[in-house]
């Protein structure tokens, strides 16, 4: 062998090195090159976030884009979404069909948001990224340091002016009935069964009374946001509330949760009660003759990265009046993650 000539071992090492580098780059940029769907990008980013150790979570941004959906009758725009990239849903001309279409999209968007975020069971917001990112000289005093809920706005739904001015459509919307009777696409379970861990098939009278209470009725003039919100609860407080031994999951209206064992009684004091109070007061839906606001809720232990200590908290997916920014900012005091 001549002096300075590369040995076969060296050539192989070099080739392996270059291939490894290309594979690494591929993992980083392939999703962009092959045009991965936004839903897949979102799902993967959430799984990345949830499975990373707490200290590294800040480096894995949530890449879920807020979908903007406009319900219209004749292809007209939704004024409140002017200038944004919008998915327009042309409603059928018959009022009943139009109402059904709004119920369907709302239920599916709620389910997608609930499903993509791990049905509230994934620990998504425990990493304090401000402390981890070198060179970040600013921090907001109230955002991540204290236990404040953080959010993802999964989608925004708006009505066009024509739909808003058609009470025959709005008055036929019955979201609760839709959740009870219709099946989640591709499954054998209704939305209600899915949100209550397959245990509840209809609403008990006590829950219907809760739905009927005027105090639980918040409405939006024309735009609602479907928001995923999660708050961490200190381990001691979680233990006192019984979250380390059991979970509370179900559909929430007002302060009542319709869970796997019927109406779940919640502590009236302590941190859980304040968390429920925070979530209970925010749900709102389009202005209709009856209350349509509901929230899919989970309180319990979160699944997180191996090695991290157990984390407890509550998650909720609910519809909120998008114009009520005080309520949204209160609900999402820790910040809103995702892509605008």
């Amino acid at each position: 062998m001549k002096k300075g000539e590369l040995t076969s071992f060296q050539i192989v090492s070099l080739v392996i090195l270059i291939i490894s580098f290309l594979v690494l780059l591929g993992f980083l940029f392939l999703p962009d090159l092959i045009g991965q769907s936004e839903e897949e990008v979102c799902r993967i980013s959430i799984l990345e976030r949830a499975t990373l150790p707490k200290v590294a979570q800040g480096f894995a941004p949530i890449k879920c884009r807020t979908e903007k959906i406009c319900f219209s009758l004749n292809g007209e725009d939704c004024l409140s979404m002017r200038g944004e990239e919008v998915r327009k849903i042309n409603l059928p001309k018959d009022f009943s069909g139009a109402a059904n279409s709004i119920e369907k999209i709302t239920a599916e968007e709620m389910y997608d948001c609930w499903s993509i975020t791990g049905k509230g069971r994934l620990n998504l917001f425990s990493g304090d990224k401000d402390a981890n990112v070198a060179g970040n000289i600013f921090t907001s005093a109230t955002t991540v340091r204290e236990a404040h809920a953080k959010c993802i706005i999964c989608s925004r739904l708006a009505l066009s002016e024509t739909v808003k001015a058609t009470p025959q459509i709005k008055n036929q919307i019955d979201l609760y009935d839709y959740l009870k009777t219709e099946k989640v696409p591709g499954t054998a379970d209704t939305f209600l069964e899915t949100f209550t861990d397959k245990q509840v098939q209809s609403y008990p009278n006590e829950f219907l009374t809760e739905i009927g209470k005027t105090g639980n009725r918040k409405t939006s003039d024309g735009q609602v946001a479907i928001i995923f919100s999660q708050i961490l609860i200190d381990r001691t407080e979680a233990s006192e509330a019984g979250l380390d031994t059991g979970i509370t999951a179900g559909l929430m209206v007002g302060g009542a949760i319709l869970g796997t064992t019927g109406i779940v009684s919640l502590p009236t004091t302590g941190v859980i009660s304040s968390v429920v109070a925070l979530y209970a007061g925010v749900s709102a839906y389009f202005q209709t003759t009856t209350n349509q606001a509901a929230a899919a809720t989970y309180c319990g232990r979160f699944a997180g990265a191996q090695g991290d200590e157990a984390q407890y908290g509550c998650s909720v997916v609910t519809t909120v009046d998008y114009n009520d920014i005080n309520t949204i900012n209160e609900l999402c005091q820790g910040g809103i993650e995702g892509i605008i």
């Binding site: 200038g83 944004e84 970040n136 959010c151 005080n326 809103i336 605008i340």
Partner: protein, 293 residues
């Protein structure tokens, strides 16, 4: 004298050292790309979407109309981000906008906003000659320098005359007023408090609403106070010992008299006595203005 094997060892190791160096370099490049991808990209994408949405919404507002819009802020990885505006006449505006008024969103850095926006921000040309961007300082979201947590002078940099809007991590509401020559973007305070009592404590950056008009305490330095009036996008600076009378719409009927009380309360807040002007009263000696500022 060379020992046996020296030449071979050097020759063989040189190639391996080069391969190792290439390997380390590639790993550093990959890590840098990964870091850039997960941190900066999402901030910049959000910032770009935000300014694009704002621009499109502004374009769709009819002339001489007022419109309120909600901007979705974002949980920035590196920030904060700010919206700035420079009118056509400003010699300081970023070159990106050539001869037009300039609306930009830029990450905060410790350098001149126009330079920061020129190098790293996203700017959009605005056809109106006059562009006014006015934000407010939200006292509940204190922005502090990590290197000097108690350096409140930095807070005052932000307060200034409200000529920027800080992007928060949640939602922001702004009011847009658009005419042929002027575009005014004013942040609407979420935590405005409507007051009817004459005596009010106003903290630095806070806004209160009196007789339907908003008053923001935007700056305090030495014995001087700067009040900002978002409804008319004007500021006025006066001594703590002076009284200001503001005529908001020129009709002399909705004047508000602002009289600082307990001037030495502290350097971050001041008591004001607010009252509607009574034309039968003779003007006080220390009145500094009778006109709209």
């Amino acid at each position: 004298m060379k020992k046996k094997g020296d030449t071979n060892l050097l020759g063989s190791n040189t190639v391996e050292v080069i391969i190792a160096a290439i390997g380390i370099l590639l790993i550093i490049i990959a890590l840098y790309l990964a870091y850039k991808r997960v941190t900066l990209d999402i901030d910049e994408e959000n910032a770009k979407t935000l300014i694009n949405n704002l621009q499109k919404k502004i374009e769709l507002i009819p002339l001489n109309e007022k419109s309120e819009i909600i901007l979705q802020g974002f949980d920035y990885v590196q920030g904060p981000w700010l919206i700035y505006g420079w009118p056509e006449s400003s010699p300081d505006r970023p070159n990106k906008c050539y001869f037009n008024s300039c609306l930009c969103i830029c990450r905060y850095e410790e350098k001149k906003p126009s330079e920061q926006c020129q190098s790293q921000g996203f700017c959009r040309k605005v056809p109106q000659n006059e562009l006014v961007v006015s934000g407010y300082f939200d006292s509940n979201r204190v922005v502090r320098s990590r290197s000097a947590a108690n350096d409140y002078s930095r807070i005052e940099d932000f307060v200034d005359n409200g000529d920027r809007i800080q992007i928060t991590r949640n939602l922001i509401k702004v009011e847009i007023i658009k005419s042929n020559n002027q575009l005014r973007i004013t942040q609407i305070l979420q935590e405005e408090k409507e007051v009817d009592s004459p005596n009010n404590l106003l903290n630095l950056g806070q806004t209160l609403v009196f007789s339907g008009y908003r008053i923001t305490l935007s700056k305090m330095s030495d014995n001087r106070i700067t009040l900002y009036f978002p409804d008319i996008s004007k500021s006025i600076t006066f001594e703590k010992s002076e009284i200001v009378r503001i005529d908001f719409n020129g009709d002399k009927k909705t004047d508000i008299v602002i009289e600082p009380e307990f001037a030495n309360f502290n350097d971050k807040s001041v008591f004001f006595r607010l009252k509607n002007y009574d034309s039968s009263e003779s003007p006080p000696n220390n009145l500094v203005t009778e006109n709209a500022p």
